[in-house]
């Protein structure tokens, strides 16, 4: 994928996610919310025919309210289909329509169409329920990649997953392998032998734990990564403890000092090279660069105001935005012509603003309120700045959201802003 396409798909994913989140909040009072998934090879005329048929079948619905609602939804969808010629766009499309509860016994009619999802729509699906069907879309947006993780030393072991960008610790075991302190009276040979037995038992236990977790998924797994302090992981792998089909999926072994849950996270970092092509590493690289610039460079900026100013100056090379950022920005202009902005939580109402230059209170106006991400991306696009969406599923991604307001930039040159 070219850089531009990648960027487009990031932005598109964001748009999709936004619509999905909106749809998830909606509810119909009856079975009246219609979702239609259309594969790219389906003729539009077929879909229209299907809708017409559903429309006439809907006349059998007992509740008048639901009947009207369903028929209205279908009419609305059929109208939308007129925009398309013979077939839907690449990868197909997904349509939603229905009368949603808008509080106080009122309903609102909404219709949303998502074209060209990230993955092809696999099969035609007509779904009518009290909620919209968004699962298949969510599935497409979920991060790809499934890796099995094992960390172990002689004391303990942990196994888990790397799913997309998220590390999921699943199981742990601690061993009965004696430490170095030999108890009085025991001969060195006997101690050594008991210890070897205990180590062997422990490796078997770890392998069982891993087999239980990974074997069932062995056809989906992209690989298994093993870590631990020097000698253990080698012994474990060389000893053929793992199920033979899993042995073949082992992508590599890496030195990590910790073998508790935190070792699983360290392992993903250590395995950078074998994971290079995965999505988590792409996000990590961006964040590592940003953190490094904060530490010993001058080419980093963060927070809405600073980043925006840098964007306008055209000094931002890459705009980093947290995938979980859900804020709006409101622009206020006082009568003296001072323009100022406030970032607010999307769920909050627009408030008034006191101009920091002249103290005038400016009334908040929803007209001047927009999604903070769109606001920034608009500027970025004009200035030729790339935008990267960063997941919060890994530590530095989480830090982008919690410590830096979800907005940061890597600069082309130092600006002092």
């Amino acid at each position: 994928m070219s850089q531009q396409e990648q960027e487009k798909s990031d932005k598109q994913k964001y748009d999709f996610r936004k619509v999905i989140e909106e749809l998830q909040e909606y509810e119909g009072s009856g079975t009246q919310l219609v979702s239609i998934y259309i594969p790219e090879d389906r003729l539009i005329s077929d879909v229209a025919a299907h809708i017409t048929q559903e429309h006439s079948e809907a006349s059998n619905i007992k509740s008048k309210q639901t009947r009207t609602a369903v028929q209205d939804a279908l009419t609305s969808l059929k109208d939308r289909l007129k925009y398309y010629d013979v077939r839907p766009p690449e990868n197909g499309m997904v349509m939603f329509s229905g009368a949603i509860n808008s509080g106080g016994g009122q309903t609102d009619m909404i219709t949303r169409v998502l074209e060209s999802p990230p993955d092809p729509v696999e099969s035609f699906r007509y779904h009518c329920d009290s909620a919209f069907l968004t699962d298949p879309l969510e599935h497409m947006l979920a991060d790809k990649g499934l890796f099995g993780l094992i960390v172990l030393d002689r004391r303990e072991a942990n196994v888990g997953w790397l799913k997309g960008k998220r590390v999921e610790p699943v199981k742990s075991a601690s061993s009965l392998v004696p430490g170095k302190q030999r108890k009085g009276g025991q001969s060195a040979q006997r101690f050594a032998r008991l210890r070897l037995e205990a180590i062997d038992n422990f490796y078997q236990e770890v392998a069982e734990m891993a087999n239980d977790l990974f074997v069932a998924k062995r056809h989906e797994i992209d690989g298994i990564i093993v870590g631990g302090p020097s000698p253990t992981k080698d012994e474990f792998l060389d000893g053929d403890y793992l199920h033979h089909e899993l042995q073949d999926s082992v992508l590599g072994k890496f030195d990590v000092s910790y073998t508790d849950e935190s070792g699983l996270y360290d392992l993903v970092d250590a395995a950078e090279d074998v994971l290079a092509e995965t999505e988590v590493m792409k996000d990590k690289e961006q964040m590592n660069e940003f953190f490094k610039e904060l530490h010993d460079g001058e080419k980093a900026t963060y927070g809405f105001e600073q980043t925006r100013r840098n964007l306008i100056m055209g000094s931002v090379d890459r705009l980093l935005i947290s995938e979980d950022l859900r804020d709006d920005v409101v622009t206020y202009e006082c009568s003296n012509g001072h323009e100022e902005r406030e970032v607010i939580d999307r769920r909050k109402n627009t408030s008034d603003h006191e101009c920091s230059e002249c103290g005038e209170v400016v009334e908040g106006d929803d007209e001047n309120r927009e999604d903070v991400i769109e606001h920034l991306i608009d500027i970025a696009e004009q200035r030729g700045t790339e935008t990267k969406f960063i997941s919060t599923d890994f530590e530095k991604g989480e830090q982008l959201l919690t410590a830096f307001g979800g907005i940061a930039g890597i600069l082309r040159y130092s600006t002092g802003v």
């Binding site: 009965l176 170095k180 210890r195 302090p229 000698p231 012994e235 000092s257 830090q399 410590a403």
Partner: protein, 421 residues
């Protein structure tokens, strides 16, 4: 047992600089290990292609250690001199096993830092010195080792001394509390007898320096706190937690509690130096047995204390930290591994409350976005798993910690206040 004062000594330093060899040599020269045992080790070492490791084998008794010639876990050895009864902890120097070194050093009063003259200050020399300062090591005896490999040249010795002195200053270790000795652990120079190979040196031998260590200070007047280092199952006795008593005393018949595992019972036996004793006090390494406690009930990192004044378990705690070396920056949400006494737990820095001027200790900036190398700050920390820790004002012995991430020690600190669960 001996009625001499007890001295807990850690031997620290970079991998392969000769720590285990030094301990083996010391035990050999003080008569704790007979010649024929060394001879036996020599044969085994040569068989394994590890000639030269015969003294190290005294401490490195695990098969995997002997095969690779690397210390993996800490080992304790007891020996006595004219002045002291020593418990000596040989720490691993390999970077992957710093976590074990921390456990060892957290139990020591003083330390011998081994630095190979032909290699100088290396990453774990640095890390161990920083850790020993934060873990409450009072004095450092610096053995400038492998002098035989640099032809016993005084200039090479002085260079190493200079390098180490710089390092000590860098981590604010009082250089008056450090002494330097040119040694060869392998050849035995200046270990227990002054060497003819270093006529330019007229200071103490290592053994003299050990004898001249100040007596460990009596600990604070705090209740029993005994961090568990390991839990053994011994046939005939049952579950035996072992560790060093940091504060207070333990007597048979005491009602004790283990935190955060939150189990307890009556102390049936207390054993020290392989002998049963009626009671043990601060600095003593003990193994003990508690009625009704099984192997799976408690774990390394638990702290044992009186049932009526149990160790604190932190939901969160506020602490002062100093960032030693961090490749990037520390922000809220950062979750590295914290090492406190024998515990090792991932903790999230929930907020950076304010920074402090490292020199004056005064408050600088409230809620900074991030801190980095050289900064000192007060932070609020949330352990991701239950952690027993104490305020350093109340029990300093259990109030400090080191922070590790990406295979290095990035910061260290003291607990100001514990918010209990």
């Amino acid at each position: 047992m001996s009625d001499k004062p007890h001295q807990n000594l850690a031997v620290i330093g970079h991998v392969d600089h000769g720590k285990s060899t030094m301990v083996g040599r010391l035990l050999f020269e003080t008569g704790s290990v007979p010649e024929h045992v060394i001879e036996q080790h020599r044969e085994e070492a040569e068989e394994k292609g590890k000639g030269g490791f015969e003294f190290a084998y005294v401490m490195d008794n695990l098969a995997e250690e002997r095969e690779r010639g690397v210390t993996i876990d800490i080992a304790h050895q007891e020996f006595d001199t004219d002045e002291y009864y020593f418990t000596i902890v040989d720490c691993p120097g390999h970077r992957d096993f710093v976590k074990n070194m921390i456990t060892g050093a957290s139990q020591a009063d003083n330390a011998v830092l081994v630095v190979a003259a032909d290699d100088g200050v290396q990453p774990q020399t640095q890390e161990h010195v920083f850790l020993s300062r934060t873990l409450g090591i009072n004095e450092l005896i610096v053995a400038v080792n492998k002098m035989d490999l640099v032809d016993y040249q005084e200039s090479r010795y002085q260079e190493t001394v200079e390098e180490v002195t710089q390092l000590l200053k860098q981590v604010q270790f009082n250089t008056d509390d450090a002494s330097f000795i040119p040694t060869s652990a392998f050849e035995g120079d200046n270990v227990s007898t002054a060497s003819e190979n270093t006529p330019w040196y007229d200071g103490e031998t290592l053994l003299e320096a050990l004898n001249n260590l100040p007596e460990p200070q009596p600990p604070t007047d705090a209740p029993l706190r005994l961090p568990i280092q390991d839990v053994y199952t011994i046939s005939g006795i049952g579950t035996v937690p072992v560790g060093r008593i940091e504060t207070g005393t333990m007597e048979t018949g005491d009602d004790v509690s283990f935190q955060p595992s939150d189990v307890g019972g009556e102390v049936k036996t207390v054993e020290m130096h392989h002998e049963e004793v009626p009671s043990a006090g601060p600095g003593d390494n003990v193994g003990f047995n508690v009625r009704g406690i099984g192997k799976d009930d408690i774990r390394r990192g638990d702290v044992c204390g009186p049932a009526d004044d149990p160790p604190s378990v932190a939901e969160t705690f506020q602490a002062r930290i100093v960032v030693m070396q961090h490749p990037s920056v520390i922000t809220a949400g950062y979750t590295p591994v914290f090492h406190a006494h024998t515990a090792q737990v991932a903790c999230t820095i929930e907020s950076i409350d304010y920074t402090i001027d490292p020199a004056s200790g005064e408050k600088e900036e409230e809620n900074p976005d991030f801190i980095q190398s050289g900064d000192a700050a007060v932070v609020t920390v949330r352990p991701q798993k239950p952690l027993s820790i104490e305020s350093a004002n109340e029990i300093p012995e259990l109030g400090s910690f080191a922070i590790r991430d990406m295979g290095q020690t990035v910061a260290a600190g003291q607990v100001l206040e514990v918010h209990e669960r």
